[in-house]
Symmetry: C2
Subunit: 153 residues, 2 copies
């Protein structure tokens, strides 16, 4: 049994943490516009084509507005909030499923009163996310519903 | 937007069902020893290396005792029960993580009082499961804890 299999059973702890799983708060570095979000990689098996991660935002937190070639398969696990996908804004709740296709702008925002967490399945081999430039951001904001979402209102 | 992307948002319904997701109860055909289990494929995207499925057993139900080359990455989502993995039996609860490596015997059993459901990430391309022959079953049952698990006691 190799080192990847040392922990075949990893128990859930209180507060959406897990034994043997590193809790990684994202650091603000000024370049990526996210707020109060953390990542935990739940499964990263060399023989599997995908990884499964758990992201959690504090109340009023949000993920980076970005897009990329690789797809995301998301299941909301905790809390409530909204999701921007392309030019659509939708309320999301626990167990809802969101498919994020290639090159589609997306961002998650937790409600103001509680954290929101979601599972995200993604290919192990993937391209780097791209942030919107000024022109792309202006095009997104031309839609009033999208502008309100991006303003957190 | 192609046909795979017709439903980017799929809402969770009550009872661990989802919009646009087919609920598939496993049929007993006498050859595979499982009991009261259903499958729902949550994500099956052509560009992704894996699928994400939700399996649910009724109270006292169980999955097939099997093994295969491909790995499983499992997160318990609902209820309580036990998991056999190799020669280990462990109690599992919501959000617990189970890694099922290649060629490892495994089976899930729900507690007697409520359903148990779990997410299972798996490679899209995979081999067929193999059931234990009489000799392998005897070897498993040589361990009293495993025998008690297999007997549902």
């Amino acid at each position: 049994m190799d080192s990847h299999h040392d922990c075949l059973f990893r128990a859930a702890r209180d507060g959406y943490r897990w034994d043997e799983v590193t809790h990684a708060p994202y650091k603000r570095d000024g370049s990526a516009p996210f707020k109060d979000i953390s990542r935990q990689v739940l499964f990263q098996e060399p023989t599997m084509g995908c990884e499964l991660r758990y992201f959690e935002m504090d109340a009023a937190g949000y993920s980076t507005l970005e897009r990329h070639e690789h797809a995301h398969a998301v299941m909301i696990l905790r809390g409530h909030g909204r999701c921007l996908l392309g030019d659509t804004v939708r309320a999301v709740k626990p167990l809802d499923l969101v498919t994020i296709p290639a090159w589609t702008w997306h961002q998650f925002r937790a409600s103001s009163d509680q954290p929101m967490g979601f599972l995200c399945m993604v290919n192990q081999t993937r391209d780097r996310p791209v942030l919107p430039n000024a022109q792309e951001l202006a095009a997104l904001r031309a839609n009033p519903a999208v502008a309100a979402f991006l303003d957190g209102s």
